[in-house]
Amino acid sequence: MTTTVERPALATPRKVAPAKDGRKLIRSQVRAGWTLLAPALLHSGVFIVIPVVAVLVLSLTDYSFGDTWAWVGFQNYSDLFRDVDFQASLWHTVLYALVVIPISMAISLAVAIGLNQKIKALGFFRTAFYIPTVTATVAVATIWLWIYNPGSGLANGFLALFGFAPNRWLADPATALPSLMVVGIWQGLGTKIIIYLAALQGVSRDLLESAELDGANRWQKFRNVTWPAIGPVQFFVLITSIVGTFQVFDLVYVMTQGGPGSETRVLVMDIYQNAFQDLKLGYASAETVIMMVVIALFIGVGRLLQKADVND
């Protein structure tokens, strides 16, 4: 017995959009793709593209919220390079990033490796390390303000146990920025630890066992198996850390307001000051453009370092 299967009538051939790799998408797929992309595109357009274009345009003007404004070309940029507050802010931001990023990444990786072992109260430690990340920066900063209080703070109390003289921490130009760095490192650990932990759990057990069978010790297993395996995650953590540290603001705003003098003034603080306190929006926009360029440069350097590490 034979069964005849009636073939459905072929639909009218549709126009297809050629894809670069030779595959073809039918129009309904193209439409569905754009429809699904639309919310993200709309969001990016309204909250990223328009502000970036606005900042670029404003940076070429002397707009200061008044009735009148004028095109000033690159005057804001040339003024910025003579502005000692901007120079100090840029230097403090770069210094903050150079200290906070590597130290926080190293500590996070070490803690993540520790939390990846079979130890007691693992859940408690994971939660404890993540708590600073989910706590509002203002609350964190307020607690650290008390810790650094020269009169009754915990930091000086701790020093006193060892017979050291009290320090003025945030009120001393020499220790203000390092004090902020400590808070920045501490606060940023949680997120990095979680990411590293996820990456460490994804390292191939087979490879680790093979290395062990080959007689590799702990360090050799880490250096030759674990380290390359978490390479992409390292790069992700590096990029997010660069962007995060360059955008540090709330911590500084609550704890020092950029002082004493301008010892803890960072780029975003300077931009805020110029835009919303001094009302120089054009000038602040030029500063923002420079900050974007500097972040891009740092990310570029990070990418080069990452490539060099992979090629090793």
């Binding site: 200061s64 919220f65 009735d67 130009p173 003098g261 835009a275 306190q277």
Partner: protein, 425 residues
Amino acid sequence: MRRIVGLSLMAAALSVVVSSCGNGVIDKSTDGVPPAEATGTLRVLIPSFPTSTKGREAFQKVVDDFHKTYPKMKVEPDFATYKNLNEKMSTSIAAGIPYDVMVTGVGWVQPFASKRIFEDLGKYGVTPDVIKDKSVAALIPAATYDNKLYAYPLVADARAVALRKSAFIEAGLDPNKPPTSLAELKVAAEKLTKRDSHGNITRSGFDLDSATSFRQSFTTFLASTGTPLYVGGEPNFNNKAGLDTLLWIKSMINNVQPYGQTNAAGTSLVLTGEAAMGIVKAAVDCSEDKGIGKKNCDDLKFFRFNSGKEIEYVGGDLASIGSRSRHKEAAWSFIQSLTKPASLDAIAKLNKKIPAYKDAANSPQAKSNPLSKFVADGLVYAVNENEVPSNWLEMRGNFDIQLTQAVLGQKDPAKVLNNLAGQSR
């Protein structure tokens, strides 16, 4: 064709989203409309009322009074602080929905008037000459720009000096002969400073009330030598008087008071006993339950700086109308409600300041405590930054940073003053 239709639909959707976000924010103008029929929202930016229940109740009384004239207008207050005032104003201007009534402080009016953000109150019959009969003289220059009045004074925030009689007697000083000149103050402050065995200051000899910024104290001490900070918008501090004043502040910090000293409540240190002498604000609560108590109050003596000129630093709250407001007439009516004596008394009490009406010395606030009475009587000695340049808002920050750098020895004081003078435009 279909692509064009699709794009058009997307653009239309976007415009609907954007326009709906802004719908209802920008009202139709009510200027020229009879007050009883005017509808819309009057947006008020005001740091003069605390966000506490008492503050809100006092503000509501002003609104209730305003509603007698404009019954259908809604009032939307923004209880800002002086810290975020500029931020609120600038973002509202950038968003195209500026406030209708803006309350600012000394030093704000001229820069905003020059940018044409504030309305000339002369249009409502209030000029510098008219206000002389209604308000404390001390705040009129701060509300005037180009011989026009751009703000109506609400309250005066004055500063005096206080000493602890017991501390003076303990140090062998006569509390009835307070030191008033810079030189005398330093000598007395050094005698009054107490230290522990490590040399750390445990009680400051003099509180400059400058935890992180020396702008106001520099202005005050400089003025006490008879030298105003600015004259006609031109810097008047890059001279011998300015340098002597800055060097004097430098010699006081970490000598009679640690840099950055403050307490959590923000109370003047001489009132809490953390300093033997120092700058105080415009009121002291002598009650036993909430204040410092009668015994402490009786231990205080108030006086004014005098290094050649007796002075009292006076700031204050000043109410203006936004030049881009669509409810200017309603805004003026609101300011009239805000400046009624009962409203000003309430604001003064809530903020521990002095009402800025003519007879401030006989106000309920002045009669309520000895410090308010002292500063109200001293309003005739008022000084402040004087005739500031148009970039004063920028200069405030510059003063804060650079004076600190000079005081902490990071920069040469003379160069700092010259630099600040060069930056004043």
